[in-house]
């Protein structure tokens, strides 16, 4: 026992157990659950994707749906870039300028999560339809023609995706900005001429892990979403998710649908593992 305490003091993050099976006993039920219902299904997905047709499932599904697949990644990319551009200044403001309002503003960022996803996406329909408030304002500003539409356009789907995933960008950036040592920033003016240089040379590099984490956390769910495209778009806005949603009950198409989600999984897995390798897993949660 005493030995355990001594080890703990050295390693700082946990002690070497006197009985090595203790941690495994604690881990087992959860690990078992994750193995059976998370890891094995991914293998099953791979297996199903090769049923009736083998690798041709992959080539077929990509050939027949290249437009939808391409659109999905373009949407997700635009959403991610916009989220950085919009979210970074806000995260910066909350971290550096908000003072005692910091917790309140942070709570504000999380607030949309407290409204059911489908309901808050439906709210966009109220805002965007032809006779709705947004169209009215845009027409008043001369930005939208009398017959112009917002619903059933790329802009509507991208805007709603951005809305739904923006907090995933803001929070990690905030966390990494908040960790920046303020003494560094105080010392910076002595080294650099102006605030802009301080930001570029000190703050921005230190917050990059947050930007990367936020980008993954925004890009990934945007890739897999079908709710925004279904509720606010037409068939010209369909994404990979809509394809799978439409066909998931058809057993004959299951191998092809598995193929497409398997590829999606591998791409994202690679991205996440590279990230974890370089920057650790802390900020992804």
């Amino acid at each position: 026992m005493a030995g355990g305490v001594a080890v703990k003091a050295k390693s700082g993050d946990g002690m070497r157990p006197s009985r090595p099976w203790v941690p495994w006993l604690l881990l087992m039920p959860g690990l078992l659950w994750l193995t059976v219902f998370f890891v094995i299904p991914l293998f099953d997905l791979g297996r199903t994707s090769l049923k009736n047709g083998g690798l041709s499932n992959f080539t077929n599904v990509f050939r027949n749906n290249s437009e939808v697949i391409g659109r999905t990644f373009v949407y997700a990319l635009i959403v991610t870039v916009l989220a950085v551009l919009i979210g970074y200044p806000l995260a910066y403001f909350i971290s550096m300028k908000a003072g005692r309002w910091k917790p309140v503003l942070l709570a504000g960022v999380v607030l949309p999560f407290f409204v059911t996803y489908l309901i808050r996406t439906l709210a966009w329909k109220i805002l965007l339809f032809g006779g709705g408030p947004v169209a009215g304002v845009l027409r008043g500003l001369g930005l939208l023609s009398k017959d112009g539409e917002i619903l059933n356009t790329h802009a509507a789907v991208i805007g709603a995706l951005l809305y739904n995933f923006l907090p995933f960008m803001i929070l990690p950036i905030f966390v990494s900005l908040d960790k920046v040592d303020r003494r560094l920033l105080e010392a910076a003016p002595d080294l650099y001429a102006n605030g802009r240089a301080t930001f570029r040379k000190v703050t921005l590099p230190l917050s990059m892990p947050g930007v990367f984490a936020g980008s993954l956390l925004t890009f990934i769910p945007a890739c897999g979403d079908f709710i925004n495209a279904e509720l606010l778009g037409s068939d010209k806005q369909r994404m990979i998710g809509n394809l799978i949603e439409k066909n998931f009950l058809k057993e004959a198409l299951r191998p092809q649908m598995s193929a497409i989600s398997f590829v999606l999984m591998v791409l994202i897995l690679v991205g996440v593992l590279i990230y974890a390798r370089l920057l650790g897993t802390e900020e992804l949660t």
């Binding site: 355990g4 002690m15 709210a123 990934i220 949660t285």
Partner: protein, 271 residues
Amino acid sequence: MKKRSTFLGVWSAVVFAYMFTPILIVVLFSFNGSKTAAGAWSQGRYNYQWDKFSLDPWLNWNQYPDLTRAFVRSILIALVVVAISVVLGTMMSLALVKYDFKAKGIVNTLLVLPLTMPELVLGFSLLTLFASANIERGFVTIIIAHVMFCVSYITTTVKARIRGFDWGLEEAAADLGATPRRTFTRVTLPLIAPGIAAAALLTFALSLDDFIITYFNAGRVETFPVRIWNVRRSSIPPQLNVFGTLILLVCVALAVGGLFFQRRKLAALRI
């Protein structure tokens, strides 16, 4: 310097307006009364256009029993999910924080992966498993699916909260002759309880709100979001917004309450 602050302030205000407008709309449209008489076709069909302010949707919150039933069902599912995943997740986070052992990195990665996979992949792959194992989808499969991603959330949240605790207290208790069980209930649990409570709250909200994973594995069981999805083309009544607003209010109340409780506890500790 000053100019930059002003710009940041205005920018933040605009972004917050973007984030809050739909929430306002959700709440506002829970008070959308219909100009047409009861029983008219337009009643409860598409709650997209403002008619007039009315308390009717709140007073007749149970006008669409299928929706109410789905809502209650979702809450029951969330409670079961929280119960299971809190136990599993807390055990895992204790193991990960208190002990050093090989393969810790792998376990950590395994825990993060479900959180980074698109729900589409999680839901659909679980569906392929249930389909190839010939398992009927329904209540049980929904709970299985929810616990799968909630365990990860709980473990990572609790882990973050209890890191840096002085586990020496446990040994002290043991040295003083406390049984392991007593040590756990009197020392360990009080230490980790606030972290667990926060994680449980988060999990409850996640389970209640989950749609994509649930949808693929629900069979014919309709949770609240699945019900909304299934009737999205024919029934979007203001009562939907009533339930949405209720969830919002409860979450805000719990979050504020939690914050307040923590403040008081901290204040007490300082004395």
